[in-house]
């Protein structure tokens, strides 16, 4: 990843001592601190390993990597021996080869040779090395080829008999995941790896990430056998980017007979370095779901959606759009785009809307949860994006996580924070619930929902009291400090802490720890990014970073978390009602003129469009007549109590372009079948601005087509003459018109993940955009606002309802709900309720309650007793159409709703 080795123009290479050694007689230069194994691998010398995984600390258990070092007392484990000046290493001497063969003989004596039916056959280190070292007989006899029972976990099979006790699963679950499902049992010859008490994996805090599957060198922990499955040598491999959250994990899709049969990961490759989460590894079932849309559909006179042809469907859409445009102008048409549309599709969608339809009404479904961060960062830093990236998060001495259940919403990015906890760094979690991360972090500020601003006020105030401010940085790079300081004059740390419901001493301790850190970063999730005070919260966080000088250096920065795979890309592509591709304002005449020239179509003078947050109102008022929905489900995603249903009912014409009949498709007049991400080509831009390739592992199902192609067909129906042969042509145009993507090319993306903005093709991109000062000169302190966004509860509506992610599902769940690998684990949306509250309400685990809000809307959900949720607060995830939580949420910008719970008898 050369991207992260650069900061601006300056290449940062740690100044490490160079040592010279010889391996098998060849002279090699290496860096002090590297192991013999690392140096050998980097120089093409293959040393066999069984217990080694670069994600883990060296362990030295398997004895396969033994090498001879001249002058050493005996063979050395190369995985744990550092190189030294003048070292002479032999990796394949006669003695070493004999030792390795002996180790393999011992292992094979006890290993069932059931290779013909083993999932790992063809991808098994033991098999590879037995072949390489020709272990054709073992002196102590063979073990019967019975592997035993695979266990009951839906995705992960455990065959203890095949285990070689390398401990990689034990260590990866502890070191990387900080969980510890696997452990050793017994001693000596009786040693085994299993869960404690041999409990089923589902009963030992397993999060089904499959990291153990990815690291097991043999067939002891493998994916469960699937009916259409196939093994390593039978499948084709496609490297792509996960289409769920904004972490942007690299996946390897295994295709057999035209179907994706397995998702794998590659150690040391991609941002995720071989780690995935349950969705990424086991959430691909939707690709082959029986209800995938394969034909366009048109609603007939009787109100039924009937299968149709592309020709008729597109004709119908084009006619309605043209009519609306002629009648009321282009602004009567609006497009809303889902966060797993590729950059290429998203770019074409906004180009269609702006240049062909003549409307700036094009927005992302998640704009509401991103708006506060984008605006506050633009005001403060002049750059509405994440300021750093995850690899340098490792250099942070302190990390503050606000409003995000990170291990569930961003399970792989979360591993960097888990790592910081494990290394004893300062980790502060601000969240009403005792999330997994909160229970592991040094500081958990259990703030009342909506009161984040009070804690932030208290923290900055206390840092100023302690003089933990970076005055040099502020003098050189910031303006507006006086106003900021004045806004804090009357702030009392203890009073703020009481408002937030957090112990004042804890707030002081956390503030001091953060302020004293050499470099500190903040990760802020959608939990703090919504509600009436969201922009003030974001501005206060930006102030906090400026006050402590934690901007523009590695290990610092503000990470506004995004929930969709291409959420950042949509903003970059101009899928915003007020922004062109590249981020220029639609009011910027020069930018409009440049686009007009590039597109050959008039776009100047178009008013800013309707943002997603106001879509419900615009549909109800009739301002928008035609709604074009691409890969999103506004019926479940848009907030606004009963109004969402009403708005979609009233919409004159609704087009849904998706892979499934979504909840919104109930209101659709035309449905266009879209290919899924694993059938499409293009790019995603992840939450840290890394542009990465999406590649097709199989052809689109039935008559479905990739989004970019459908948009092009529609544009041409409406009179354009677009002729993009493939997404690569679209990216060439994006690079031309969107400055941050100037140097992004598919060729370059073959080698690295580019972090945009790219400062030059020879660079991997820009890791720390503000390292040489801020765009537009200086960063600006915002005065810290007063007040909090608390929910008013009373006797009639005594609970505060909060929502958020669950690990197994994504967004409104269209894809995860159709993937057995996750629904077998979490099938229904449950209301999390503190056991003490449950006792008062006399409800038991699994019983159904009715959750009603003040506006009269209600949903019913089964209860899950959860001590991580504090009393007085209930949590409901938003992935289920059976529990449409958006019906309970007030319009965008409302605080968390107060609700009443009633037991449903029956």
């Amino acid at each position: 990843m050369s991207a992260t080795e650069t900061t601006g123009d300056q290449v940062v290479t740690p100044n490490k001592e160079v040592v010279t050694l010889s391996i098998n007689g060849q002279e090699i230069q290496a860096q002090a601190g590297q192991t013999i194994l690392e140096v050998a691998q980097a120089n093409g010398v293959d040393i066999p390993t069984l217990c080694h995984d670069p994600r883990l600390e060296p362990y030295g258990a398997c004895r396969m990597c033994l090498v001879e070092v001249e002058g050493a007392r005996g063979p050395m484990a190369s995985c744990g021996t550092m190189v030294r000046e003048g070292m002479k290493v032999q990796t394949h001497s006669e003695k070493i080869v004999k030792l390795r063969k002996f180790v393999l003989e011992l292992l094979l004596t006890n290993h069932p040779l059931d290779c013909p039916v083993c999932e790992a056959a063809g991808d098994c280190r033991l098999q590879d090395y037995a072949y390489e070292y020709l272990v054709d007989m073992v002196p102590w006899g063979w073990r019967a080829p019975l592997a035993g029972d695979p266990g009951t976990h839906p995705n992960i099979a455990h065959f203890g008999a095949r285990c070689i006790l390398c401990g990689r699963c034990v260590r990866i679950c502890r070191e990387v995941m900080s969980i510890g499902c696997w452990g050793y049992l017994n001693r000596g010859y009786d040693s085994e790896v299993d869960t404690p008490y041999r409990l089923p994996l589902q009963e030992v805090d397993c999060v089904s990430c499959g990291q153990c599957v990815s690291t097991c060198p043999v067939g002891a922990i493998v994916g469960q056998r699937t009916p259409g499955g196939a093994r390593e040598w039978q499948t084709e491999k496609t490297v792509t980017t996960c289409a769920y959250c904004a972490d942007g994990c690299r996946q390897v899709l295994h295709t057999y007979r035209g179907k994706v049969v397995r998702v794998a990961s590659e150690t040391e490759k991609g941002l995720n370095q071989g780690n995935l989460c349950v969705k990424g590894r086991y959430g691909m079932g939707y690709v082959a779901a029986p209800d995938r849309l394969t034909k366009p559909m048109i609603r007939d006179a009787s109100g039924t959606l009937v299968e149709s042809t592309w020709d008729d469907a597109l004709k119908s859409v084009a006619e309605k759009m043209t009519a609306a445009k002629e009648d009321k102008g282009g602004r009567a048409v609006a497009a809303v785009c889902g966060t797993h549309s590729t950059n290429e599709a998203a770019y074409l969608l906004q180009k269609l809307m702006r240049s062909v339809v003549g409307s700036n009404n094009v927005d992302a479904i998640d704009h509401g949860e991103q708006a506060a961060a984008e605006e506050a960062l633009m005001d403060g830093f002049g750059l509405p994006v994440v300021s750093n990236s995850r690899e340098e998060l490792r250099e942070a001495d302190a990390i503050l996580v606000i409003g995000s259940n990170l291990t569930e919403s961003h399970p792989v990015l979360a591993l960097e924070v888990i790592r910081a906890v494990r290394l004893g760094k300062t980790v502060i979690v601000m969240d009403p619930r005792v999330t997994e991360l909160a229970s592991k972090a040094g500081y958990h500020l259990a703030v009342r929902p909506g009161a984040d601003l009070a804690v932030l006020r208290a923290m900055v105030k206390h840092m100023m009291e302690l003089d933990l401010t970076d005055t040099d940085f502020m003098a050189a790079h910031t303006d507006g400090f006086e106003g900021f300081e004045k806004s804090l004059a009357d702030v009392d740390v203890s009073v703020e802490a009481v408002t937030a419901g957090v112990d004042a001493e804890l707030v002081r301790a956390a503030a001091a720890a953060f302020g004293r850190a050499g470099s500190a970063a903040v990760l802020v999730g959608t939990g703090a990014a919504q509600g009436p005070k969201s922009k003030a919260v974001m501005a206060a966080i930006a102030d906090l970073m400026l006050l402590t000088g934690n901007v523009g250096r590695p290990g610092t920065g503000l990470f506004p978390l995004r929930s969709g795979a291409n959420s950042q890309g949509l903003a970059d592509m101009g899928v915003r009602p007020d922004k062109f591709p590249g981020g220029a304002s639609v009011a910027d005449a020069a930018a409009a003129a440049r686009l007009e020239a590039a597109w050959g179509m008039p776009i100047s003078g178009l008013a800013a469009g309707v943002p997603t947050m106001r879509l419900v109102d615009a549909l109800r008022s009739g301002d928008i007549e035609v709604l074009y929905v691409v890969g999103a489900d506004p019926a479940l995603a848009l907030r606004g109590e009963g109004a969402v249903h009403e708005a979609l009912e009233q919409a004159g014409f609704v087009v849904v372009q998706d892979s499934f009949l979504t909840e919104t498709a109930r209101y659709a007049d035309v449905v266009l079948p879209a290919a899924v991400a694993s059938e499409d080509e293009g790019t995603f831009t992840n939450g840290e601005r890394f542009v990465q390739r999406v590649r097709a592992a199989a052809p689109p199902l039935g008559d479905s087509l990739p989004d970019w192609k459908i948009v092009q067909m529609l544009a041409n129906r409406l009179g354009a003459d677009w002729a993009y042969a493939a997404p690569v042509d679209v990216m060439a145009e994006v690079a031309d018109v969107a400055p941050p993507y100037r140097d992004v090319t598919y060729e370059k993306l073959e080698e690295v993940e580019l972090q945009r903005p790219c400062s030059g093709i020879e660079h991997g991109g820009t890791a720390v955009p503000c390292s040489k000062g801020f765009e537009g000169g200086k960063a600006v302190f915002a005065p810290v606002e007063e007040g909090v966004a608390e929910t008013a509860t009373d006797a009639a509506f005594p609970f505060i309802l909060i929502t958020g992610s669950v690990r197994e599902h994504h967004g409104t769940g269209e894809r995860t709900r159709r993937s057995a690998g996750v629904t077998d684990l979490v099938g229904e949306a449950r209301l999390r309720l503190n056991p003490a509250d449950a006792e008062t309400l006399r409800v038991l685990e699994g019983e159904t309650v009715r959750v009603s809000g003040r506006a009269g809307s209600a949903v019913e959900a089964p209860v899950s007793l959860d001590t991580r949720t504090p009393q007085g607060i209930v949590f409901l995830p938003g992935f289920s159409p059976e529990v449409p939580i958006n019906h309970l949420l007030g319009p965008e910008g409302s605080p968390a709703p107060a609700v009443r719970l009633e037991r449903v008898d029956g």
């Binding site: 034990v170 679950c173 502890r174 050793y184």
Partner: protein, 189 residues
């Protein structure tokens, strides 16, 4: 005392209090897993699952690690233990002097396998690795007393004699142990 038994607190409330105190004493200390397991076993006589979970939590380690340590060292017991322990040594010296046949005969005599308790919870047979009395091999220990230079027949005789003593005393005072066996000498504190 030939029949000295290991006895434990039976008052549940007192056990709980002592255990809470133990957890408190080691909370947050690095490397406290082994003393916590030892302390827990001293209080409860063995390490039940809920005790293991609480020990792991106090030590800040995953349950898998606590179970790993408890099953690694032969001093820890995850199952309740009968009143009297009969340990058959299988160290090298005993092994070559016929420990396997002694174990077999004793198992037959008591009707249980090594690692099990008799249904009346009076006897447990354990196979252990070296009790440090190799000069007397093969060795069987009954509670804290070693019996050496055994043959399978002699071992069965020794156990039968012990049984008679235990059960005779039991018939006498109803305490399930011979006189002098009810003290706290064997308690691991």
């Amino acid at each position: 005392m030939t029949t000295e038994a290991t006895t434990y607190d039976t008052d549940e409330q007192e056990q709980e209090e002592r255990f809470a105190e133990l957890l408190d004493r080691y909370k947050g200390q690095a490397g406290a897993l082994v003393p916590l397991l030892q302390g827990g076993q001293a209080i409860f006589g063995y390490l039940p699952e809920d005790v293991m979970r609480r020990v792991a939590k106090a030590a800040g380690e995953p349950l898998s690690k606590a179970v790993g340590v408890a099953t690694f060292y032969s001093q820890f017991r995850l199952r309740p233990h009968a009143k009297h322990t009969i340990r058959c040594c299988h160290g090298t010296a005993c092994h070559v002097s016929g420990a396997a046949r002694i174990s077999e005969e004793l198992e037959k005599c008591l009707g249980i396998e090594a690692g099990e308790n008799t249904p009346d919870m009076l006897y447990t047979i354990e196979e252990v690795h070296c009790v440090g009395a190799c000069g007397m091999a093969p060795v069987v220990m009954i509670n804290d007393r070693a019996h050496g230079k055994l043959t399978p027949e002699k071992a069965v005789e020794v156990v039968k004699a012990f049984k008679a003593e235990v059960e005779g005393a039991s018939a006498g005072d109803g305490r399930g142990a011979p006189a002098g066996a009810g003290g706290r000498e064997g308690e691991d504190t």
